[in-house]
C-alpha cells in the first residue's frame, strides 16, 4: 500500500465534521473545484467554503450502529471510498473488507456484520469517478483560513487544545440525572478529559464541547445516574 502526502486530492473523506476546520488536520487543503468531499454526518454542514466543491453526506455512524452495534467506521469509510472512485467493484470491496478483518483476527460474525455494513454503504453512495490523471489544478479554490479567526496559537499559549472541540467525536452522550445523583464526585474524578466540573453544590456539569463520549463516567457512577443517548446534535 502506498502512503504519503496527497497534495491535490480527487476526493477526501472526513469521519467527523469537526475535523473539517481543524487547524492541524486541514483536510480541505489542496482541494480543487472538481474534487469531492464526503462527510460522515447525519446533517449538512453549512459552511461558506464548502459551496465551491461537491459535498456528499452520509450517516455512516448510524449505519455502523445498525449493522455492527458499534461506532466502528473503517469498513464503512473504505466502502464509500471505493464507490466514489468508480474504479472498484462491490465484489472486490467486500472481499477486501473480509480479508482485512480476518487478518485482524476478528470473529466471523463480526466480519459478516462489517461486510453487510460495507455493502449498504457502497450501494447507497453514488459514484463520482476519479478526475482525469492529466489534471493539473491551477490554483486552490477551497481557501480555508485555518488560523486567524481565533488568533494564531504561539509557543507560549497554554491550555489551547480547548480550541479543538472534541465533542464531535461523541457517538453517545452521557447525561446526568440530577434526581439520582448524590454529588459523590466520582465521575468528575475519573473523566480522563477533565470534561466534568462540579457546580457550587458539588453536582457534576459535563462540558459537551469537549466530552469525547468515552462513557467512563457512566460506568463508574455508583448510582447509575448517568444515562446514555445517541448523539445527534453535532454537525
Amino acid at each position: 500500500m502506498e502512503r504519503g502526502h496527497i497534495f491535490n486530492p480527487s476526493y477526501v473523506l472526513v469521519t467527523t465534521p469537526s475535523l473539517l476546520f481543524d487547524m492541524t488536520v486541514k483536510p480541505l487543503e489542496g482541494m480543487a473545484e472538481d474534487s469531492v468531499l464526503f462527510v460522515n454526518s447525519p446533517k449538512e454542514v453549512s459552511i461558506e467554503q464548502l459551496k465551491k466543491i461537491r459535498v456528499i453526506y452520509g450517516d455512516l455512524t448510524g449505519l455502523a450502529l445498525k449493522y455492527v452495534g458499534k461506532d466502528i467506521l473503517s469498513a464503512a469509510m473504505g466502502a464509500v471510498a471505493c464507490k466514489l472512485s468508480g474504479l472498484i467493484s462491490l465484489q472486490s470491496t467486500l472481499g477486501a473488507v473480509e480479508e482485512e478483518l480476518a487478518e485482524l483476527g476478528l470473529e466471523t460474525d463480526i466480519i459478516e456484520k462489517n461486510v453487510q455494513l460495507a455493502k449498504e454503504c457502497y450501494l447507497s453512495t453514488e459514484s463520482v469517478g476519479l478526475r482525469g490523471l492529466n489534471h493539473k489544478p491551477l490554483h486552490k479554490v477551497v481557501e480555508v483560513r485555518y488560523l486567524g479567526e481565533k488568533g494564531i496559537p504561539d509557543l507560549l499559549s497554554v491550555g489551547n487544545t480547548a480550541l479543538r472541540k472534541t465533542g464531535s467525536w461523541r457517538v453517545f452522550k452521557p447525561i446526568v440525572d440530577k434526581n439520582l445523583c448524590t454529588a459523590c464526585s466520582i465521575c468528575y474524578i475519573y473523566c480522563p478529559e477533565a470534561c466534568i466540573s462540579l457546580d457550587e453544590r458539588g453536582y457534576p456539569v459535563i462540558n459537551y464541547d469537549h466530552c469525547k463520549g468515552c462513557l467512563v463516567c457512566t460506568t463508574e457512577c455508583p448510582r447509575n445516574a448517568i444515562r446514555v443517548e445517541r448523539e445527534t446534535a453535532w454537525s
Binding site: G105, T161, A162, W169, S185, I189, D209, L215, T219
Partner: protein, 309 residues
C-alpha cells in the same frame, strides 16, 4: 507523624492543569493518569517527554497543559531533565530566577521509552541522583505507532508484532520486564506503582514523594482501549481489575525498602481481567488455552506468596 492530605475522594484537588481537547483516544488511561498526577504535583511543573502517545497531546501549536512541556528524542528524556534541572538551579543560584519560580522537572514517557529505548539514560539519571520525577504511563506496548510489543508487554498478549500464530499460540512469549525492580535496584529515594483506579493511593504517593530530593519514579498502569481492545468506558474498571487480580501490585519503595500499599484481601482470578480484552482473546477462543492462563495465574500467585509471608 505526617499529616495525610488525601483521605477521601473529596480531597482530590479541584484545580485542573490539563484542559480538554487533546487528540488522545477517548478513554485513554494515560491521559487519566496524567490529569490526576498533575493535580497532586501542582502547577509548577515542566514536563520532559520522549516520543509516545502522550507526545500527541502537545503537538504544536496546541497543548492541553497549563504547565510547560519539553519534547526530546526517545532515548534521552532523563538527560533532558538533567539539563533543565541544572539550568533552573544555576539561574536560581545566580539570582536570575526567583526561587518561587522554581519548577518540578517531570519526565513522562510510555513504557517503550521507559523500558527499552530510554532505559540507559534513566539509569544514568538515577545513578547521579538527579532531582526529578519520572512518570511512566505503561500501556504495555508501543501504542502510538500501532501497538507493537515492547519489553513491557505481558506474556500471553497479542500485539501488532506478537500476533498469536500456530507456532506461537500465546502471542507474546516473553515476560514483562520488571521496571519497578530495575529502578529500585538503583536505590533511589522513591519508586512507586500507581493505578488510575486507585486515586487516593496515587495522590498519597505523589504527596509522599514530594518530601524527597533526588529521583522519584512512578510506574502507572495505563489502560489503552485502542490497543487492549476494550470499550472506552471500561478503562477504570480494567485498571481496578488489574489491581484486584494481583496482576498490578500497588507498592512503593523508599530507598529500596518495599511496602505494598494495597493488598487485595481475596484476589480475583486473572481470567476476569484477561477475558475482557481483545489482546488476550486468543487465550479463550476458538479453544481455551488453559495452560497459558494457568501460567499467568501461577506467576501472579508466586509473586504474592512472597509478599504475604
Amino acid at each position: 507523624m505526617s499529616i495525610i492530605k488525601y483521605k477521601t475522594l473529596k480531597d482530590v484537588p479541584k484545580e485542573e492543569f490539563l484542559v480538554p481537547g487533546t487528540p488522545l483516544c477517548a478513554g485513554c488511561g494515560a491521559l487519566q493518569v496524567m490529569r490526576l498526577f498533575h493535580k497532586a504535583l501542582g502547577g509548577d511543573v515542566v514536563w520532559v517527554n520522549a516520543a509516545g502517545c502522550v507526545t500527541l497531546m502537545a503537538t504544536f501549536p496546541y497543548t492541553p497543559l497549563k504547565s510547560s512541556w519539553f519534547y526530546i528524542a526517545m532515548p534521552s528524556a532523563p538527560a533532558g531533565a538533567q539539563g533543565i534541572r541544572d539550568a533552573l538551579d544555576i539561574l536560581i543560584k545566580k539570582g536570575k530566577l526567583d526561587p518561587t519560580e522554581n519548577l518540578k522537572v517531570v519526565v513522562v514517557t510510555g513504557d517503550g521509552a521507559a523500558s527499552d529505548i530510554g532505559l540507559q539514560a534513566t539509569s544514568g539519571a538515577i545513578h547521579r541522583g538527579l532531582d526529578f520525577f519520572y512518570l511512566c504511563v505503561d500501556n504495555e506496548a508501543y501504542g502510538n505507532t500501532g501497538f507493537q510489543a515492547s519489553s513491557s508487554s505481558p506474556m500471553g498478549s497479542g500485539t501488532a508484532t506478537t500476533k498469536p500464530t500456530h507456532l506461537y499460540p500465546a502471542g507474546n512469549v516473553l515476560p514483562k520486564k520488571d521496571l519497578f525492580e530495575i529502578w529500585r535496584s538503583h536505590r533511589p529515594p522513591y519508586v512507586a506503582t500507581i493505578s488510575p483506579s486507585h486515586v487516593i493511593d496515587m495522590l498519597r504517593k505523589v504527596e509522599k514523594s514530594l518530601s524527597f530530593k533526588g529521583p522519584k519514579l512512578f510506574l502507572a498502569l495505563s489502560p489503552c482501549p485502542t490497543g487492549w481492545g476494550a470499550e472506552t468506558s471500561e478503562s477504570v474498571k480494567l485498571a481496578k481489575l488489574a489491581v484486584e487480580t494481583g496482576i498490578w501490585p500497588l507498592k512503593e519503595a523508599v530507598y529500596g525498602e518495599v511496602t505494598h500499599t494495597y493488598i487485595p484481601s481475596k484476589r480475583k482470578p486473572v481470567e476476569d481481567y484477561l477475558k475482557v480484552q481483545r489482546r488476550f482473546a486468543h487465550l479463550f477462543k476458538p479453544v481455551k488455552n488453559e495452560s497459558i492462563i494457568a501460567e499467568i495465574q501461577k506467576q501472579v500467585d508466586e509473586y504474592w506468596s512472597k509478599v504475604e509471608h
